[in-house]
C-alpha cells in the first residue's frame, strides 16, 4: 500500500511569511510524529499525535509553530512568520499504535530566504 506522503516536497519562502506543511499518514495508523532534520541539530522530535490529540506541544521550537490533526488522518504543521533558522527538512512518521515501528515520509525541504 501507499506509504507516508508529505507535501510540498520543496518549499521556498521569504522570511516573515507563513507556511503550511502537510502529512498524509499510512491509512489506519493512529500515531503520528513530526521531526525536523537540519545540519546543525540533526534529527529532532517536534510533536506527537495519538488520534487527533497532541498531549504535549513543548517540543515545538517556538510559539510560531503549531500543528493539528483532523479525522485521525492528515496532519498539518504550520510555521508563522518564518525565520531563516526554520530552514530544514520536516519529516513526518506514522505507526499503527504508539508502540509500533515508525514509517517516515520523504520530508518537506523548507528554505527560508
Amino acid at each position: 500500500g501507499a506509504g507516508v506522503s508529505q507535501s510540498p516536497s520543496n518549499k521556498v519562502t521569504e522570511k516573515g511569511k507563513d507556511v503550511e506543511l502537510r502529512c498524509d499518514p499510512i491509512s489506519g495508523h493512529t500515531a503520528l510524529y513530526w521531526y525536523r532534520q537540519s545540519l546543525g541539530q540533526g534529527l529532532e522530535f517536534l510533536i506527537y499525535f495519538q488520534g487527533n490529540s497532541a498531549p504535549d506541544k513543548s517540543g515545538l521550537p517556538s510559539d510560531r509553530f503549531s500543528a493539528e490533526r483532523t479525522g485521525g488522518s492528515v496532519s498539518t504543521l504550520t510555521i508563522q512568520r518564518t525565520q531563516q533558522e526554520d530552514s530544514a527538512v520536516y519529516l513526518c512518521a506514522s505507526s499503527w499504535t504508539k508502540y509500533n515501528e515508525q514509517f517516515f515520509g520523504p520530508g518537506t525541504r523548507l528554505t527560508v530566504l
Binding site: V4, A31, Y33, Y35, G42, L43, E44, F45, Y48, Q50, P55, D56, G59, L91, A93, S95, K98, Y99, E101, Q102, F103, F104, G105, P106, G107
Partner: protein
C-alpha cells in the same frame, strides 16, 4: 543536549568488509533502540530494532549488539555492499504518554562502501 551519542561520523569500508557503528546513551528509561538507514532525498527507513531484554538481534546481514550495563549499542553490517552506502542513525526512546515513542536520534554516520 544530545541524548544519544553516535560514532564514527563517517566510515569507509571495502566491499565484503564489516561496518561497525556505535552508540551510547545515558537515560536508563530508554527501552527501544532502532537503527535507521537514510538515502539522500529520502526519509529514514527502519533497518532493525532491539529492546533491552536481549543482547543481540540479527536480521540478514544486519546485527544489533546491546550492552545494557554499559549503556551502549552497535550496528554491524556484514559483507558490506556498495548499495549499503547511506547515512545510518541510531535512536533510542522511552515510552511516554505525552510523546509516545518519540525517537532521540544520534547525529548519524555516513557510510561509504567502496567496490
Amino acid at each position: 543536549q544530545q541524548q544519544v551519542k553516535q560514532s564514527p561520523q563517517s566510515l569507509i569500508v571495502q566491499k565484503g568488509g564489516i561496518s561497525i557503528i556505535n552508540c551510547a546513551y545515558e537515560n536508563t528509561a530508554f527501552d527501544y533502540f532502532p537503527w535507521y538507514q537514510q538515502f539522500p532525498g529520502k526519509g529514514p527507513a527502519l533497518l532493525i530494532a532491539i529492546r533491552p531484554d536481549v543482547s543481540e538481534k540479527k536480521e540478514g546481514r544486519f546485527t544489533i549488539s546491546f550492552n545494557k550495563s554499559a549503556k551502549q549499542f552497535s550496528l554491524h553490517i556484514m559483507d558490506s555492499q556498495p548499495g549499503d552506502s547511506a547515512t545510518y542513525f541510531c535512536a533510542a526512546s522511552p515510552y511516554n504518554s505525552n510523546s509516545g515513542y518519540a525517537l532521540n536520534f544520534g547525529k548519524g554516520t555516513s557510510l561509504l562502501v567502496t567496490p
